[in-house]
């Protein structure tokens, strides 16, 4: 009965929320990236991975396709593309 009252840390990653995306997904062009980490900082899902410039990318298992990374990127190095591309 009590086992449900406490959960192990960070277990929510079992929910692959990427299936919520309906129309578009972000695509990292990886050409003009300056490694400012702003996309990684503001992603509401926290699903952007990478450490150096031109290496950042979205984990599409969790990305809900809100497009905030596209808005914040100062170099316009991310764009929203159709899901099947």
């Amino acid at each position: 009965m009590f086992s449900i009252l406490a959960s192990k840390a960070k277990t929510s990653r079992a929910n692959k929320t990427g299936s919520w995306r309906s129309l578009k997904k972000p695509k990292y062009l990886k050409t003009n990236c300056i490694g400012c980490k702003l996309c990684k900082l503001i992603c509401p899902e926290g699903c952007i991975e990478g450490k150096e410039k031109n290496q950042y990318d979205t984990n599409l298992d969790y990305c809900k396709g809100c497009g905030l990374c596209v808005y914040i990127c100062p170099k316009k190095d991310i764009e929203m593309v159709d899901e099947d591309k």
């Binding site: 086992s3 449900i4 959960s7 192990k8 840390a9 960070k10 277990t11 929510s12 990653r13 079992a14 929910n15 692959k16 929320t17 919520w20 995306r21 702003l38 900082l41 503001i42 992603c43 509401p44 899902e45 926290g46 699903c47 991975e49 984990n59 298992d61 969790y62 809900k64 396709g65 809100c66 497009g67 905030l68 596209v70 808005y71 914040i72």
Partner: protein, 296 residues
């Protein structure tokens, strides 16, 4: 360590939570947790944040986290702080209490006031999305003037919420606590700077973060950050800092934008565009903010 595992190790509020696409609150929670670090304990009030981050039996949090009731996040955090003090661990562990605008400004106000009055070493964070979003967009004390909610619907007899926002940060600052401030997710670095500053201060602290809610505000998820920025630039959400009850810093607005730019992006203000008079009243709220806080 595989890249996936490494990524989860460095975040303290991880992917897989069930917030809506473009949620400002989940963004703010990550900004806060990644500054606060692993030696933190969190007491959470009922609300969107509690519901979407802890879909039982899973949790998105990487720190000890407790939810009890709607009204008592401050009281639970006070107990945690007292226990840490008693066992001599208060220098190692920081305590954060957090809730939404309803859980802070309406339901949890007396517990918050008690916590500030007793001087507990806690940072209280209010994620202000301007209505009770979790239960279906009812108006709260922090809902802005003329916003449409399900309990203040716009129609023939009404133009939305009849009252202006409760001056919550001033209510907290009136307790003469070491630090009380507002911030906005439109300026993420500013949020992190303020959390860092607050956690370095001993004593009760209060931080109110403006977090757009695409569902409740009827806005585009991709516009979350733009809307948050416009709220600040139109003087409808003043960014201020209080220390020991005195206003010490405000974020000056370089070029004041007309309130229409902020309102037109949100469906909850749609009815105002048929009513010039009401638009002027919202403009007057912004002007009053400018004058009162000296934003220009």
């Amino acid at each position: 360590m595989p890249a996936d595992r490494e990524h989860f190790a460095e975040n303290l509020f991880v992917s897989g939570h069930t917030a809506c696409s473009g949620c400002g609150q989940s963004l703010a929670a990550r900004l806060v947790m990644n500054v606060a670090g692993p030696n933190t304990m969190v007491a959470n009030a009922t609300g969107c944040l509690e519901v979407f981050s802890t879909k039982a039996p899973e949790t998105a949090w990487g720190v000890p986290w407790i939810h009890s009731l709607f009204e008592n996040a401050s009281a639970v955090a006070s107990g945690i702080e007292a226990a840490l003090k008693h066992t001599g661990q208060i220098d190692k562990v920081r305590v954060i209490a957090q809730g939404g605008d309803g859980g802070t400004a309406d339901i949890g106000l007396q517990a918050l006031s008690g916590m500030l009055e007793r001087g507990h070493d806690i940072l209280y964070i209010c994620y202000d999305n301007e209505a009770y979003m979790n239960t279906g967009i009812q108006r709260s004390g922090l809902t802005p003037f003329d916003a449409h909610t399900t309990t203040s619907p716009a129609g023939k007899q009404s133009t939305g919420n009849p009252t202006v926002k409760k001056p919550l940060v001033e209510i907290c600052a009136a307790h003469h606590i070491p630090y009380a401030a507002t911030a906005s997710v439109g300026y993420p670095q500013d949020v992190q700077k303020k959390v860092k500053k607050a956690l370095d201060i001993r004593g009760p602290k209060f931080l109110q973060i403006h977090v757009p809610c695409p569902l409740g505000w009827r806005s585009d998820p991709a516009a979350t950050l733009e809307i948050a920025k416009l709220a600040v630039q139109t003087a409808l959400y003043p960014i201020v800092e209080y220390e020991y009850g005195k206003l010490v810093k405000v974020m000056k607005i370089a070029s004041l934008k007309p309130v229409v730019e902020y309102l037109k992006l949100q469906g909850r203000f749609k009815h105002l565009f048929k009513n010039e008079e009401e638009l002027k009243k919202v403009g007057a709220v912004a002007e009053k903010n400018c004058e009162y806080y000296g934003l220009k």
